[in-house]
């Protein structure tokens, strides 16, 4: 009896590891895909379209356009720029929603429902079944730098050096000189986030989440990855600075771009 239990647990664990793996494409069973399709067609298609191309009937009335799933480009990931998201990344986005947009939270869905949705959404892009896209590499965070005045001041300097102000404005209010001319990969107008407004920022409830955005970039938007351009410590300092802007508790020397030069 014990042996049967051990074997069962071992097989289950192996299955979970394979299913949750970022090393190879996950192939969901037909029943899961059918369940995911039923949910998607009823709920998600109103925005994302029946074919996942982001062209649902609601899209025309939304400033932040629904994601086009057919390209496999996703904003919110833990993976390197240009890579596919992990299943966990997609699950988190579905479950938590992206506030201040029409993407509502689906936290009342069961884990099985979200899993089925993730697997069905992945069928819209052939990239998810292409073994050349794998393994997925998740970012590393390095050594966290505490949220201190010193770090915030350094972050402000990085903000200017990296020319974040060109899009996000000197005060981070999303009104930089390039702000009004930006478009995403689908030529839809897109506004840089107001970094001082916590309701306008997505997945930025901590310096670590903001660090992740610098490291991964927001694929499909003009926000690139700075992983090659910044060190981990610079991204932590910049994350602390942005966090201080949105929580209105920070302190920084108002360094102008001219002073950096």
């Amino acid at each position: 009896m014990l042996a049967v239990a051990v074997i069962t647990v071992s097989l289950f664990s192996l299955g979970w590891i394979l299913l949750g793996s970022n090393d190879i494409p996950v192939k969901a069973d037909p029943a899961t895909l059918a369940k995911g399709k039923a949910l998607y067609d009823d709920i998600c298609a109103t925005c994302h379209g029946m074919n996942g191309n982001g062209d649902g009937v609601l899209a025309a009335n939304l400033q932040t356009k629904p994601r086009n799933f057919t390209t496999g480009a996703f904003k919110f990931r833990s993976t390197l720029s240009g890579q596919l998201p992990t299943d966990e990344d997609l699950s988190i986005t579905i479950k938590s929603g992206t506030h201040s947009t029409a993407m509502t939270t689906f936290e009342t869905f069961s884990p099985e429902q979200i899993w089925a949705l993730v697997q069905y959404i992945k069928t819209f892009s052939p990239r998810f079944s292409d073994s050349n896209e794998y393994p997925l590499k998740t970012i590393s965070y390095g050594n966290e730098i505490p949220f201190t005045r010193e770090s915030i001041a350094k972050g402000r300097k990085v903000y200017v050096e990296m020319q974040c102000n060109k899009c996000h404005g000197d005060a981070g209010e999303g009104n930089g000189p390039s702000a009004d001319s930006m478009v995403d990969n689908w030529d839809d107008p897109i506004q840089p986030s107001d970094l001082t407004n916590p309701s306008a920022l997505k997945f930025a409830t901590s310096p670590a989440e903001i660090f992740r955005t610098f490291a991964t970039g927001l694929d499909g938007t003009p926000m690139p990855s700075y992983r090659e351009a910044m060190s981990d410590s610079e991204m932590w300092n910049l994350g602390n600075y942005i966090y201080s802007l949105q929580t209105h508790q920070g302190y920084y020397e108002p360094i102008k771009a001219e002073e950096i030069k």
């Binding site: 039923a38 949910l39 067609d41 009823d42 709920i43 298609a45 109103t46 925005c47 379209g49 029946m50 062209d55 649902g56 009937v57 609601l58 899209a59 025309a60 009335n61 939304l62 400033q63 938590s96 929603g97 506030h99 201040s100 947009t101 029409a102 993407m103 509502t104 939270t105 689906f106 009342t108 869905f109 069961s110 429902q113 107001d194 407004n197 916590p198 309701s199 306008a200």
Partner: protein, 421 residues
């Protein structure tokens, strides 16, 4: 919602209106939300469910048809700290300028009114995965407080049950209208018949006006597997004023079918029907209502469609044809049949996403027995400063005609705003 039109109040109320408007525009931050209840609950904006408040979009209609829940979701019973102790509210004041001309006597009447829906205090929530509630209490400084709607919902998958005062779910539960009513959908035969003092139903105006809440028990739901979604509702109601079931009752049926006919653009066709029985009452010499021995068996039938253009999906066309039949009401000389036929055709255009909208509507109704016809044109423009604050203007032209009795054209300009939090 019931409206309270307060007559002959101009300067002080216009001042109040402007103050509210300015306050709304300056105090509300861009992160404020639109429909406060469900936007808060689901951490989203009003545009998830509305084209522009109050017109529902495709997601909002599905949400409503699922009993104000996302399909297949199973909310948990909230803990005490999650209960909506702080109620959401909405204020919708408007200024109405009316120019009315009697085309028989050439008499002209101009009036300027300040109108308000009062303050709507809203509440909704869950008692676990199966049971939820919805409530809307209006507090008006002149008329006091009143329950607009309050009902329980039992969720059982593709079928939900409700009990309480509620707006029954037709193909067009609410559209863009600001200051004007839908002539056909608002048709109340008794309002016309009560030009006499005979044949009036209990309560004076009790009937079933679909844009107002009625006391009902209802079974309704959403079946996503039939093409791209089938909605239905079957209700038993005592009408808007909630009188004794012995005096008035009706059976209500409403269905519609959605298909994505091209490029994710939906086409929806539907019908609703209700039939019932009213006892007719008259005022006696003491001012009391007495049953006059007559009963009316009314029925109403509406057939409608709603379609988005398949190219940019920014144009919505909707229309409805309706027949209203009463078999036994007093028409001025005798009791007998009275039938209204009417229709409306509306257009909504999204000019700027989440910002600016325009709409127009043509309404018409005819009542042969009264020799009455009424045609109304409406056009409007709405602008959202932020999702939960908008400014709206509407121009309406109405021309009811009863030959040799009534030819009274009215032009109405309404300027209103809404603030919800």
């Amino acid at each position: 919602m019931m409206r309270c039109h307060l007559q002959n109040t101009s300067v002080p109320y216009i001042g109040s209106f402007l103050a509210v408007l300015i306050l709304s525009c300056t105090v509300i931050t861009p992160n404020a939300r639109a429909i406060p209840l469900f936007a808060r609950k689901y951490k989203t904006t009003c545009f998830t469910c509305h084209v522009s408040v109050p017109m529902l979009n495709e997601f909002g209609r599905r949400f409503q048809a699922n009993g104000y829940r996302i399909a297949n979701s199973e909310p948990k019973t909230p803990t005490w700290d999650q209960l909506p102790i702080v109620l959401a509210f909405a204020v919708t004041p408007e200024v109405i300028y009316t120019h009315s001309k009697d085309n028989i006597t050439n008499e002209v009447i101009d009036s300027r009114n300040f109108s308000t829906y009062g303050v709507d205090m809203l509440t909704a929530g869950d008692f676990g995965s199966r049971l939820s509630w919805f409530g809307d209490v209006t507090v008006d400084p002149k008329e006091g407080a009143g329950i607009e709607s309050l009902f329980l919902i039992y969720h059982a998958g593709a079928i939900n049950f409700t009990l309480g005062k509620q707006i029954l779910r037709t193909l067009f539960p609410i559209q863009f209208t600001l200051g004007t009513d839908y002539l056909a959908q608002s048709y109340d035969s008794f309002a016309d018949a009560s030009l006499t003092d005979k044949g009036v139903p209990i309560g004076g105006t009790n009937t079933l006006l679909l844009e107002e809440a009625s006391y009902a028990v209802s079974a309704f739901g959403w079946v996503p597997d039939i093409l791209n979604g089938f909605r239905y509702e079957l209700a038993f109601t005592s009408g808007n004023d909630g009188v004794d079931l012995n005096d008035a009752s009706a059976l209500f049926l409403s269905t519609d079918q959605t298909i994505y006919y091209a490029n994710n653009a939906p086409l929806k066709v539907g019908l609703w029907y209700y039939t019932g029985k009213h006892k007719l009452y008259d005022l006696d010499s003491t001012g009391a209502w007495i049953y006059d021995g007559h009963e009316n068996t009314p029925w109403r039938l509406g057939i409608g469609a709603d379609i988005y253009d398949p190219w940019v999906k920014r144009i919505n066309l909707n229309g409805q044809y309706m027949i209203a039949n009463d078999d036994n009401i007093y028409n001025g000389s005798s009791f007998g049949q009275q039938r209204m036929t009417g229709s409306f055709l509306g257009l909504t255009a999204i000019l700027l996403p989440e910002k600016m909208y325009s709409y127009g509507r043509w309404d018409h109704k005819e009542v042969n027995e009264l020799n009455l016809s009424d045609t109304q044109w409406t056009m409007g423009l709405k602008y959202h400063f932020v999702p939960n604050v908008f400014l709206s203007g509407e121009l309406a032209f109405d021309n009811p005609k009863i030959p040799h009795q009534l030819d009274n054209s009215t032009t109405t300009l309404s300027i209103g705003t809404m603030f919800a939090y």
